[in-house]
């Protein structure tokens, strides 16, 4: 049996040679198929994994981007945000839950320019991309310049379903541009003022010569007439008056454009304030404003140039008056003196006007900076350099309630202590 079995065994392949090769072929094919299939399966899984990874990376990238990225729904005319990356949240100051579902355009801030908003809506409504810059406001009201790019996202049929936007804070860039622009303007202004000073100086000289002659001739004529011709005498007097008036204008122009060397003397600041206010009182009355004083009578004398310090006071007072110009209900101007410490006195000019916008604070004392259309932008910068030449400081701050206070310090006269 065993033998036959062996034979059988031996024989069998011989007998079914064809069958066997067919089988082998099938197995091989199946194996190959399996291999392909499992390969395909592996590939599919890999691909899925890859796709997942890519989505993950893309999401991560959007989350990590330093520019604000957001997606808004296009069909809903409220333009709700369905995605906003952390940079967008940081940019606008709104938390994620305040952003998602919110009308995108409301996040520009209440003070945003509605004309720009309309322009953006109009552009993207037509399926076009918007690219522009605008002033936005953070949640806390702080404003910033925003560079905006909003692009429609379309479905397979080509209709717009969403918008994707990139928003970047370009305040720094804008600031630099502005500074460059300002410097350019300042330079122009310097040239203009320099030319003006030169011009005024030569003009003043040229005009005061004939004014001198006219005055001398007229006075000579008056003397020659003596008591005769009263009508002519009167006319001559008018000529003299007008001559002196013209001379006064020239003098003032010179003072305005000429630097004089300071003459230092002991000064009672309170007295100086009173003198100065007397000079400007007609202006204060004409504008229907009230001036109040809180002068500390115990402040010591200071050492300084009377004219220059008067110029500073006049400047601060007239600035305050101008700040209160537009609002009739802000009427009160307060001048206060106090002893800051044993060596320093402090003079404040406080108004109840419109205050100083934050962005103007830094530039307030720079040459040729002015918020007034007809201002020369010299007043505060000259005032500061005068105060600094006296060893003091001139500063500005907004009042907690309304208006602004400009104040300067001056060192107490040393002789006072001797």
């Amino acid at each position: 049996m065993t033998k036959s079995t062996i034979i059988k065994y031996v024989k069998a392949p011989l007998l079914k040679k064809e069958t066997r090769s067919n089988l082998e072929e099938k197995v091989r094919q199946q194996t190959d198929e399996l291999k392909v299939r499992s390969g395909q399966l592996r590939q599919g899984a890999d691909r899925e994994k890859l796709a997942e990874e890519q989505i993950h990376i893309r999401t991560k990238a959007m989350e990590a981007a330093l520019d604000g990225i957001f997606i808004i729904e296009a069909v809903n005319q409220r333009f709700p945000i369905i995605y906003a990356n952390p940079a967008f949240q940081k940019l606008t100051g709104f938390a994620k839950n305040e952003v998602i579902g919110q009308d995108y355009f409301l996040l520009y801030g209440a003070d945003a320019d509605l004309r720009v908003v309309d322009e953006i809506k109009h552009t993207i409504d037509q399926g076009q991309s918007f690219h522009g810059e605008m002033l936005n406001f953070k949640k806390n009201g702080k404003k910033f310049w925003s560079s905006l790019r909003i692009t429609p996202i379309r479905d397979t049929k080509g209709s717009v379903t969403h918008y994707v936007g990139i928003q970047t804070d370009i305040s720094l860039m804008k600031q630099r541009d502005l500074e460059i622009e300002e410097q350019r303007e300042e330079l122009l202004h310097v040239t203009r003022v320099g030319k003006l000073a030169e011009f005024v100086s030569s003009l003043a000289h040229e005009i005061s010569q004939p004014l001198t002659a006219i005055l001398a001739y007229t006075q000579a004529a008056q003397r020659l007439l003596k008591d005769k011709e009263p009508q002519l005498q009167e006319i001559l007097q008018y000529i003299i008056n007008d001559d002196l008036r013209a001379a006064e204008v020239i003098k003032r122009l010179r003072v305005l454009l000429k630097k004089t060397k300071p003459v230092f003397e002991s000064i009672d600041t309170n007295a100086l304030i009173n003198e100065t206010v007397t000079l400007i009182m007609p202006h204060i009355n004409a504008r229907n404003k009230i001036i109040k004083f809180e002068l500390d009578s115990k402040i010591p004398l200071i050492e300084g140039d009377r004219i220059q310090l008067q110029q500073v006071l006049l400047n601060l007072i007239s600035n305050s008056l101008e700040a209160m110009e537009s609002s009739p209900e802000s009427r009160e101007l307060l001048i206060r003196t106090s002893l800051k410490n044993t060596n320093t006195i402090r003079v404040e000019v406080k108004d109840s006007g419109c205050g100083i916008p934050e962005e103007n604070m830094k530039k307030l004392f720079s040459h040729f900076f002015t918020s007034k259309p007809d201002g020369l932008g010299m007043g505060l910068s000259i005032s500061r350099s005068i105060v600094e030449a006296h060893g003091g400081r001139l500063e500005a701050e907004n009042n907690p309630d309304r208006g602004a206070t400009l104040y300067f310090t001056l060192p107490v006269a040393r002789k006072e202590n001797w």
Binding site: T212, A213, L215, Q219, R223, L224, R254, I307
Partner: protein
């Protein structure tokens, strides 16, 4: 009074008669200003106060024409080409002349008046100059010259 507009001729003419004029008892005034109209007008005015007035359009022509020891008050403009008022005053002072000088200038700076006194002038007046003020200063100058007390520094 008709000749007041011919001052240039007059001044040339006057130079040769200085002794006579001194005997007239009229005080002599030299006006030096580069502006001819100012010279002429000041001369006209000062003549109504009965001064003898001679004008020059530059400090150089004044020095050429008038010896340092010739008596007379100088009304001197500060801003002039070539030799300006300060330089002219320095020249007078250094020569030892006692000539009283009154500065006039269109420019007014606190320091100009001080400087004028420091360099030995009788005073400083800003243009346009009031006639009476100038005359008062001239009279003061006459006294100052007598006592020879000038303010210096």
């Amino acid at each position: 009074m008709h000749n007041q507009f011919n001052l240039v001729h007059l001044s040339l003419h006057c130079r040769g008669r200085k002794n006579n004029e001194m005997s007239d008892g009229r005080m002599k005034i030299f006006v030096v200003d580069d502006d001819e109209s100012v010279c002429r007008a000041l001369k006209t005015l000062l003549m109504t106060f009965d001064f003898e007035v001679i004008t020059y359009n530059s400090a150089i022509s004044f020095f050429e024409a008038v010896p340092n020891d010739e008596p007379g008050c100088l009304v001197l403009d500060i801003h002039m080409p070539e030799l300006d008022g300060w330089a002219a005053q320095k020249k007078i002072f250094e020569s030892g002349s006692k000539r009283p000088v009154i500065f006039i200038s269109a420019e007014k700076q606190e320091t100009v008046g001080d400087r004028a006194l420091k360099v030995g002038a009788v005073g400083f007046l800003q243009k346009p100059v009031n006639g009476q003020t100038l005359v008062d200063l001239i009279h003061l100058a006459a006294q100052t010259t007598h006592t020879n007390k000038m303010i210096q520094g």
